[in-house]
Amino acid sequence: MGYPFQPHLRETTLLSRYFGDAGARTLAGWKERGGYRALEQALGMSPADIVNVVKESGLRGRGGAGFPTGMKWSFMKPGDGKPHYMLCNADESEPGTFKDREIMRWTPHALIEGCAIGAHAIGAEVSYIYIRGEFTEPLRIMDAAVREAYAAGILGKNAMGTGKRVDLHLHRGAGAYICGEETAMMNSLEGRRGNPRIKPPFPAVAGLFGLPTTINNVETLGAVPLILNEGAAWYKAFSLSSPKSTGTKLFSVCGNIARPGNYEVVLGFPFKEFLYELCGGPPPGRRFKAVIPGGSSVPIQTMDEAEATAMDYEGFVAQGSMLGSGGVIVYDDSQCMVKHIARLARFYAHESCAQCTQCREGTAWVTKILERIEQGGGTTSDLDTLLELSEQMTGKTICVLSDSCAAPIVSGIQKFRHEFEAHINGKRCPMGTTAAA
């Protein structure tokens, strides 16, 4: 495990190598650790060559969707006469996820470097990093790093003396989970309410300010300098299970577990060993009950599923869930699943932008039903209503927020139906987490 502890011997610390090393935060310190060599190299390469290296590495988006990064970049056509934009998604708000925060806190220059390389590859002269409003400390650290990079001529109108313009600005969000959705983020940055946009047009055609834009997650861009430095073949060799999942991934681990924190492992690592060996298993005297492995928007796994999982894009799907953002939430046998699913539903109801009826009404309605069940006032037909609502909330809206709300409800009822029934039949929470209604 990285900061604040020593990494576990079975971790592969490419991105997290300098977590906890304050010396890596400064420009001088970053250069001593090999920083900005990759950017210097990239600025001398053609955009198409950079895109090919990243394609060849197999790098896929680390924000949740897992889209191949090189392919995303190839949708941008440098030289079309329009300004292009690179937008880095640092609006980390997915419950269970806190990895981008550590990248920004400890290796701000890695992100600046990755952003600048990506910008050059997609023909953008301006990059924005959209940081969630609550991340005051990462924002301060990033701000200091950006200032240093400008002062040293790494950023600016003549970046690293190459005559190329590489501008980069930080943009602070103001409290809205939905702004982590790429089109909502573009609206928010433009000074609008953070409502997602209908796609198509996709951002590569009409994105920020109506111009071609690429949006990448912090962790994705953080891996780019490593790939440029060490080569695509080197990066691609980090793969333990599916050949479609390459490189390392940061997993944020939280909830009821002995050693919560960020862990970096090669994709395909066995989830069972990860949970028990690296993270130390459940708290003393407890047993694990359930895992949400990819941030709160992915289906819940039973322990049987989790323990059979290879930690990569394909492996989590094969075991009833998704890799998502890599935010691993673990619940032990002292926790009431109904209570947690109700609390997650309340989160989505709070964060719905309210554009689409299925989401605005659906998230609020399922929350009401779930809270009623948890308080002992549920009926057997409530479960059917929840499943029907969840179906109406899936695949029918502009963005996937309402799908995300439905995922833990559907999987929760499928896999932990007995807990729902115990609440309904006993007219109270059997775990005693709430008083009888």
Binding site: P95, R101, T136, G173, R193, N256, I329, F347
Partner: protein
Amino acid sequence: MSDANRESTTAEYSPVLAGPARRELDDILTRYPTKMAALLPALWIVQRERGWVSTDSMAEVALALDLTPAYVKGVVTFYTMYHQHPVGRYFVQVCTTSPCGACGAEDVVEALLEGTGCGELGVTSPDGKFTVIEAECLGACGFATPVMINDEFIESVTPPRVSELLAQLR
């Protein structure tokens, strides 16, 4: 609004975006191809200077960015972090989303409500010092329970630590 009202409002209201704050905004404007894109940053300046974003400030920001006051209000109300009314000197946000909930966030909320004298969420304490709210996922789930006091981000808060933290602020 009648002319008389408008005049009296103008007379009482002293602009935020003057002097260094105006220069800060001008610098921010150079980063974007549109004036509207400076809206969130401008509102952050207002909140930093005034502690909250009043209707008059929204109108001032609208004027500075060629927007309408109604448009600015629409944006302000979308986001949770802009205060639309004055809050306590220390604005306390506690994460109570599911992962922190599994680690005892509710007890931290209770300790804060009691220790600050707020009693209830969203209510400012009688001495005007504290307002406590529940926040949705603060993005530090492995360091449950995170608490933000103004811009200060504090990890791993437990009920016993609450009294320590509050003692430092009294």
